[in-house]
Every structure is written in C-alpha cells, then in structure tokens.
C-alpha cells in the first residue's frame, strides 16, 4: 500500500518488541462478537492513475463555470482567484499543519491568522475577529448565541432579505440556544427601519444582510440604529468583496459583522469548504466562539503569536464554553488573507466598482422589468421574466447560459423572478450574450 512504509521485516521486529505473535493479538480487547469478521464491502483499490481517471470521469459530468456562461450567484460567487492563492495553499507546511497548539512550531500560521484577523477588522471596521467559522451560515448562529449572552434576551430578529440558507441554519440552532426566531418581511426588496425597530424591541439581535439576498442595498445605518435603540445588537451579514465600496459596518453602529468569505479567495467547490468570518466590538471578545490569535513576546522580548483567550473554548471550559468549535477553516481563511493582500485597497475597490458598473450595463441590456426598481444594487439584481423563472432558466441553459437563480424557490409570489449575478469576471460581451439568450426565452 503506497501510503504505508512498514516492510515485512519491520512488522516482525515490531510485533516482537510489543510481545505479541500477530497483529490480531493487538485487537484482543475487542470482544469477538463485535469483530467484523469479513472483508469490507468496498470497491477494489485503485492505483494513482486509475484514481485520477475515475475522478476525472466524475468531474467531467459536472457543468462548471468554464463550460457554461454563468450568472448564478445567490450566496456563492464566481470571483477571480489569483494564482498566488493556489501557490500559498500548496505549501505543505500550511496544508499539513494542525491547530497551532504549540506556538514555537507554528509561528508562521499564527502570524498569518493574526494578519487575517487584522484584514477582517479593517474591512468591517470592527475591533476583533476570530480565526474563522465554518461558513457564512454558522457564523450567524454564533452571532445569535453571543447576542443572547450579551443581552439576556431570548429572541432574534432576522430580516427576510437575509440569504435563506443563513436563516435556515439560524432556525436549526436557535432551539438549543433557547432562542425564538422572528422574521421581518421586506418592503419593496429592502427592510423598513420601522419594522426593524418593532421586531428588535425585545430581541437579542437584529440580523440584516448588506447587500441583501436580492442584491439590494439595505438602509443599513438606519437598521443598525433601529436595533441599537431597541437594546438589541445590530448584526450585519456582509459580502467581503463589497467592502471596498460599501461602508464598514463598524462605522454605522453594528456590534457584530459576519459573513461568507468564499468570494474573497475561495473557489466555488460545490459549496465548500469555505470560511465564515465573525468580527465584533472589543466588549464582546470574551463571548466570541472559536480560535483567536494574540500577540505576545517570548523570554527574550521577541514578538510572537499564540492562541489566546482560550478560557472561552471547549478544551478548557467544556460545557461552559462559548461554542463547541475546534477544527475551523484556517486554510480557507489564509486564502482570504492572500487574496485580500493581492487585491490591496485599490484592487478591492476596483472589483466592487466593476461589479456595480457591469450590473448597470446588464440591467440596461437585458431590458427586463426590475423586480425592485427603486433599489440600489451591488453585484446582483432581480428581474421579472414574465413566466415561470425555472422554465426560463432551463431554456437558457440549453443555450449554454445559466441566467441566474429562480427566486420562487425561497419566496412565495416571486415565481417569475430571476436573480442575476454579475461579478468582475463577466464581460460586456458575455452580458450581451445573456441578453440575447434571455430575449429568446422569456
């Protein structure tokens, strides 16, 4: 077996050193009745070339963004991932290390995550960031738990314009936290600040998304004030790629800024693994879940980095921990840091501006009625296609174009609406092609 190194001679010598006559004797503690007693019913082993051929065949049956012109977004985005991200992630030291429990062995990854935390704080305008959560859904559940402890309240208010998957995950977690979830309907594609104020009245937090699931810009500062005035924590679920052009949640009064990191540095990868980010005001640091890296010095006064504030965590605090999270998404967060460092502030702004400019071009070229024509958008917008959007989408796919996400899957009454996503990777010519195909399908 190619991943094993022991020779027959090694095995014999080792069994002798252990003092047993066979490998089977090592398993003597397992009662006979619990032994499998047969070979595993698995398909035959594959050599490396056979393995590659088998997985190439499976991969070949997937229609990826290189095979179909795609305007599909709805939470996962086809942004450009630079080559340097692949190069850094291929470094075996990063790839094959684990959680930096022993800081002297792990200064590189510790410093990288300290730099990641700094980048997230800069993007969001927050004081502290953890070292990553699983994805953009679970960090929302984490925020609810933090808010429950911070306010002592047992309700969370969730805007209906938040990604449906985020809302589903919050609802799955809420009963365990002793939380009730109320949803705030949208008005014309965005949340009304008055509605938010009423819903936040006895809530631990108000969660809104900026830009929201429809691609529209929420009146975020007003929503944050509505939450804060009601004594609830304002939680902004933000797109990191938008934060070169959109205001930092820390600047308009949010207590927490969370989000899905995928668009910054991670490939689509059929939904994972990616990273969720969670940043907060410093007053909330002791309620944060997950790893946090802190700066310190060694005995010689040299600067160094360690896992810190570990008394929040499960391996010390056990049933009183802020969360059960252990394995996180460090490698994907590292990809985020590399990507954001490659962009720099100027590049990040350019990506945001390209998305906005291309979206306006697409709105005009498509010429379809906008679902929420009053609203400002960032990289997605919803159009009415005049008939069932699922059918339109299927018809367009037959022409080699995926035109976007049918909103009727999540919102009653929007069966004729399509959510179109335009990242900086799309070109005006590709948008022209979308317009042409959609014109023939609607």
């Amino acid at each position: 077996m190619r991943f094993l190194s022991l020779t027959e001679r090694d095995r014999a010598a080792m069994l002798e050193a252990v003092g047993v006559g066979s490998i089977d004797e090592l398993f003597a503690d397992i009662p006979e009745s619990l032994r499998l007693g047969r070979e595993l019913a698995l398909e035959p082993a594959l050599s490396e070339p056979e393995l590659v051929a088998h997985l190439e065949e499976l991969a070949g049956r997937n229609v990826h963004t290189g095979r179909e012109l795609s305007f599909l977004g709805a939470g996962m985005y086809d942004h450009y991932v630079p080559a340097i991200v692949d190069a850094v992630l291929a470094r075996g030291e990063f790839l094959t290390a684990y959680t930096p429990y022993q800081p002297e062995m792990s200064q590189g990854v510790l410093q990288a995550i300290f730099e990641y935390q700094t980048a997230i704080c800069e993007l969001t305008g927050m004081d502290v960031s953890n070292a990553s959560g699983y994805d953009g859904t679970t960090v929302a559940a984490d925020a609810c738990s933090m808010a429950r402890y911070a306010t002592g309240r047992s309700k969370v208010a969730l805007c209906e314009t938040v990604n449906p998957q985020v809302r589903q995950v919050v609802k799955t977690y809420a009963p365990g936290f002793g939380l009730e979830v109320v949803e705030i309907p949208h008005r014309g594609g965005v949340t009304d600040a008055g509605d938010a104020r009423s819903a936040a009245e006895d809530a631990a937090c108000l969660i809104f998304q900026q830009p929201n699931f429809f691609g529209c810009l929420e009146p975020a500062p007003e929503l944050a004030s509505a939450a804060t005035d009601a004594g609830a924590l304002a939680v902004a679920h933000v797109d990191p790629v938008s934060l070169g052009v959109l205001e930092a949640p820390g600047r308009y009064g949010c207590a927490l800024a969370i989000g899905e990191g995928q668009g910054a540095g991670n490939s689509l990868s059929f939904g994972g693994p990616h990273y969720g980010f969670l940043a907060a005001r410093s007053s909330l640091i002791r309620r944060m879940p997950g790893r946090i890296i802190g700066e310190t010095t060694d005995v010689n006064g040299e600067r160094g980095y360690v896992l810190t504030l570990q008394t929040r965590e499960q391996h010390i605090r056990r049933e009183k921990a802020t969360s059960n999270i252990t394995t996180n998404q460090t490698l994907l967060a590292l990809a985020g840091l590399v990507h954001l460092s490659w962009l720099g502030p100027q590049g990040l702004r350019e990506v945001g501006e390209s998305c906005m400019a291309l979206v306006e071009y697409a709105k005009e070229r498509l010429g379809l009625p906008l679902l929420f024509s009053e609203q400002t958008t960032f990289k997605e917008f919803a159009v009415r296609v005049g008939r069932n959007a699922e059918e339109v989408m299927q018809a367009a796919r037959e022409q080699g174009v995926h035109p976007g996400y049918p909103l009727g899957r999540d919102y009653e009454g929007l069966e004729d609406a399509l959510l179109v996503c335009v990242t900086e990777k799309r070109t005006p010519a590709e948008i022209d092609r979308l317009a042409e195909v959609l014109a023939a399908c609607v």
């Binding site: 077996m1 022991l6 080792m14 090592l26 503690d29 499998l36 595993l40 398909e43 594959l46 393995l51 991969a59 997937n62 229609v63 990826h64 795609s70 939470g75 340097i84 190069a87 790839l95 094959t96 684990y98 429990y101 002297e104 062995m105 792990s106 200064q107 590189g108 990288a112 995550i113 730099e115 700094t118 980048a119 502290v128 699983y134 679970t138 799955t172 977690y173 810009l217 689509l268 990868s269 994972g272 693994p273 890296i293 802190g294 700066e295 310190t296 040299e302 160094g304 810190t308 391996h315 056990r318 059960n324 994907l332 460092s341 502030p345 100027q346 990506v351 390209s354 400019a357 306006e360």
Partner: protein, 497 residues
C-alpha cells in the same frame, strides 16, 4: 519577522484587473465607503516571499513527525490536491442544476455508501462541517427523535475522558450534562453508569477507543444499559482510525456516529481546518437528518428537500465538498484493504508504547489501540520537568510534540498518536529522543525547562497575551509588548486533540 502590514507601502499592488469603459454608479452617501480599508500594499514578489517565510516558520506533517494525539496527523496524498482542483469540482456552483452536477452528486452518494459500510449503520448525511458540528447535529437528531415520540428527556451523559467538544455540544444543543467516571482498567465505570441512566436520559456520547487509546471492553453492556432505558448512543468518531474494517460502531450498539474526514480519511488539517464531520445513523433517525439529502433514483442522483421532520440545515448547501473529494479518493486508494490502515496504526502505536513505557509512567497498563497516554508525573515530581517541558524539548529533536494535559484524568499527560503512515525509522528516532529526554530530565532538567532552543521564538508569554489581548495590528499605534516584562508563562492547559 515583520507583519505584512509593516511591509506595506502606499501605491504598491499585486493585482491587475480588467477595466471596462462603463460608468460606475454613485452610491448613496450613508452607504458609500468613507475610508479605504488598510489592506496590505505589496507587489507580487514581496507577497510571495512573505508567505514563503511564514510557511518556513510552520511545521506540518510534510516537515516531520507530528504525533499529536487524537488528531490523526497522517500523510496527505498529493494526488488528492490535484483531484480537488479539477475544474469540474473546483469551479462547480453549489446551486448548479442537478443535470449539471451529476458527477458531484454521485461522488457524494458513493462516499455516503462507503461511510455506511464502515460504520455499520443505515443512512448518512455529509453536511456537518467538522467533528464538533457532527456532534451537535447528532444531539439535535436526538432531540427531534424524542420530541417526535413525545418523550421528555433532558440529559446527555459523557465520559470524564471525553474531548471538550462533547460537553460543549451538549450545552449548545440545550441538554443538561452528566459525567460518568472511568474504572481501573480504563473502561467506563458501569456501576456509576447504571446509577445515572434513567428515563430522563436522552443518550450517551462516547469515543471508542477512548481518548486513553483503549477499547472499552464492556461496550455491549454499556449499550444495553442505554437501550434498556430507551436512550440513544452517540459515537464520537475521533478515533475511528483504530478500527476501520475491524469493528464497526453500529455493531457495537451505537445509533449515531460522526466521522472526522480530516483525521481518518486524510483531508489535510490546513493549520486548523477545514474538516468534515459526516454523520451516519440508524434507520429510525433518518426522517430527522439535515436537508437536503443526496439520494439515488435509478441511474440519476438528486437532492431531496422533502423531509418534513428534518432538523433543518446545519451549514450551507450539502457540506464541504472539497473534503469529500479528498476523502473519497483516499478510501478508493485502499479499497477493501482499508483494514490495513487501522492495523498498522495500531501496530505503530503499540510499538512506541512498548519502547517508551519503561521511561514514562503508563497509567493503564494494557495494549493500546491507535494511540496511548503516558504520564510525565514522575519526571515532574523527581526532577521538576513537566509534560510541557518534555513537549518543548522534543522540538529541539525536530519533532512536533504530542498532545499534552489531555485527557484530563491523567496528570501530566502525553498523548501520542503516530498514525500508520510513519516508517519504523521515524518511530525509532522518536523513541530515542523521548528516552534521551527522560535521561536529560534527571541529569540536566534545565535543558527541558528552557526548551525549545532553536525555534524562531523561545517560550512565549501566554498570560500576557490573554491579559493584553492584542488581536490585530494597530497600524500607527501598535503596542510594543517587548517593553513590558515577559515570562515564559505557557498555560498548563490541553495542547492538542
């Protein structure tokens, strides 16, 4: 080494992006960014050097032996990195239509079938993002199952040897925690257990083999106690690497199991993640599994959202797909010989144990499974050299230390898991180092107490880090902590697992 922000110069950049001659719309004033984020500004050459230097200050399995107990730090085959980067996987949108994702769905379905066979249970959900999320999902299933039956059960029992995630998951799921002790052989204390299991008990969470590296010889009795009380058994799959193809959790009596794909099935640990924590359950728990389910209809594969009793979703989409690609490839490389993986993992561990137990205390003198726990208590008492000191001194010999101070019931614990992928020469070199360190402890304990000697930093002041909580770069006002007195205060807390 300087931080990337300290290398940044205004005006430099590494990125180049397409520009379109299109007007950029104005944003409303309150929503427009009021200041640029201070992201690093470096050209590509210095960016590459920065991350290369960081990599060189990081120790991975690729660097050397990494016997971090309970983490199963085995070799990560490079072909899996090639496979996960096939465009058909890497660039596949999770909301792509089923007709355009048949290969991905088939891969997931195949992995589910494999995990069902390995666990001896009936139905699999790949959705949980990591082991701890698998635990939480499993407890949510328990809650939904009992609610559906109209039973009120509010307590979950964990072992005193359990990973911290077990009790933490119990709290997150809204259950009360009860702990059960360990007997003199390292098995669960059956008398203690019988006294605690009753009609309020929802279930047990157990790792088997335990975190002591010991297979619980009374597991059938344990299962009987819980099942007689109408409760469920949850298997923490952290230690599955010991028993693949040898003994299955379902056959042991467990009803729900999570499998750590990043441990047993070689998803690279990535400096802390990602992981994967699929769960496999008995038929009667199937209605409550997360949505969507990946199912097969004849020759087609599809996502089934129609599960009215489902607990809902625990993360986005269908789980960490890239992790599934690597783990599926890993398992297919072995085929039915997967048993060999566990056999060699157990042989390697027993070989180390046999050679080390003369120099370090062994609290439970039995053959071990894939890992074992020694105690440095005697070294500490007689020479003032602690488990932490042994760990730090191992760095001087070029090894990553084992997990220390865990499990909690063993004082000065050194939890060692070599995995199956290490050659005998490496095991021998590690033994030589551990024996030399035991001698050094007696003769020159300061060699241990002052270790490590040649890492990029010496021992760091963890107390200062927690007190000052400098958790991001402060740009112009960044504090200079070197001006404050520093002590080598490493907290004596669990490091690993």
């Amino acid at each position: 080494m300087r931080l990337i922000y300290e290398k940044s110069q205004t005006g430099r950049r590494a990125s180049s992006l397409p520009r379109h001659d299109l007007p950029v719309p104005e944003l409303p004033a309150g929503l427009r960014r009021s200041y640029p984020p201070r992201l690093p500004e470096l050209a590509e050459p210095e960016l590459v050097r920065h991350f290369s230097e960081l990599a060189s200050r990081t120790f991975g399995i690729d660097t050397g032996f990494y016997p971090l107990g309970s983490c199963t730090m085995k070799h990560n085959p490079r072909v899996n990195e090639r496979l996960v980067n096939l465009p058909g996987f890497r660039d596949l949108h999770p909301l792509q239509e089923e007709s355009g994702s048949q290969g991905a769905l088939e891969l997931m379905w195949r992995l589910q079938e494999i995990l069902i066979e390995l666990s001896g249970l009936d139905v699999c959900s790949l959705q949980p993002a990591a082991g701890s999320q698998g635990e939480l999902t499993g407890l949510m299933l328990m809650r939904a199952y009992f609610a559906d039956r109209g039973e009120e059960r509010d307590t979950v029992i964990t072992a005193d040897t359990a990973h911290g995630t077990n009790p933490a998951s119990v709290t997150m799921a809204g259950y009360k925690l009860q702990k059960v002790g360990t007997d003199a052989r390292g098995n669960l204390d059956l008398d203690d257990l019988r006294a605690k299991v009753n009609e309020r008990t929802a279930g047990l969470m157990l790792t088997n083999p335990s975190t002591l590296g010991l297979f619980d010889e009374s597991i059938e009795d344990v299962a009987g106690i819980f099942h007689d009380a109408g409760a469920l058994l949850y298997y923490d799959g952290a230690n599955l690497n010991a028993v693949c193809g040898i003994s299955r959790p379902g056959d042991m009596g467990f009803d729900i199991v999570h499998i750590n794909l990043h441990k047993t099935f070689s998803q690279p640990h990535g400096g802390g993640g990602p992981g994967g924590g699929p769960i496999v359950v008995r038929d009667r728990l199937e209605p409550f599994l997360p949505v969507p389910a990946v199912v097969r209809d004849g020759e087609r594969f599809r996502l089934d959202f129609d599960r009215p009793k489902s607990i809902g979703k625990v993360r986005g989409f269908t789980g960490p797909f890239g992790v599934f690609v690597r783990s599926y490839a890993y398992i297919r490389a072995y085929g039915p010989a997967l048993r060999l993986m566990s056999e060699v993992a157990v042989l390697n561990a027993n070989y180390l144990l046999a050679r080390l137990k003369g120099a370090y205390e062994l609290p439970f003198d039995r053959l071990c499974m894939h890992e074992f726990v020694l105690s440095a208590r005697k070294l500490k008492r007689e020479h003032g050299a602690s488990a932490l000191d042994v760990a730090k001194r191992l760095m001087d010999y070029g090894f990553h230390p084992p997990t220390i101070y865990f499990p909690l019931i063993v004082p000065e614990a050194l939890m060692i898991e070599p995995t199956e992928t290490e050659p005998k020469e490496t095991l021998d070199a590690f033994v030589d180092a551990m024996l030399a360190i035991a001698r050094e402890a007696a003769e020159q304990p300061e060699l241990l107490q002052e270790a490590p000697h040649d890492r990029p930093v010496r021992r760091l002041d963890e107390v200062k880090a927690a007190r000052r909580a400098v958790v991001r770069y402060g740009f112009e006002e960044h504090p200079d902590l070197s001006q404050e007195p520093s002590e080598p205060r490493a907290l004596e807390v669990q490091k690993g697992a």
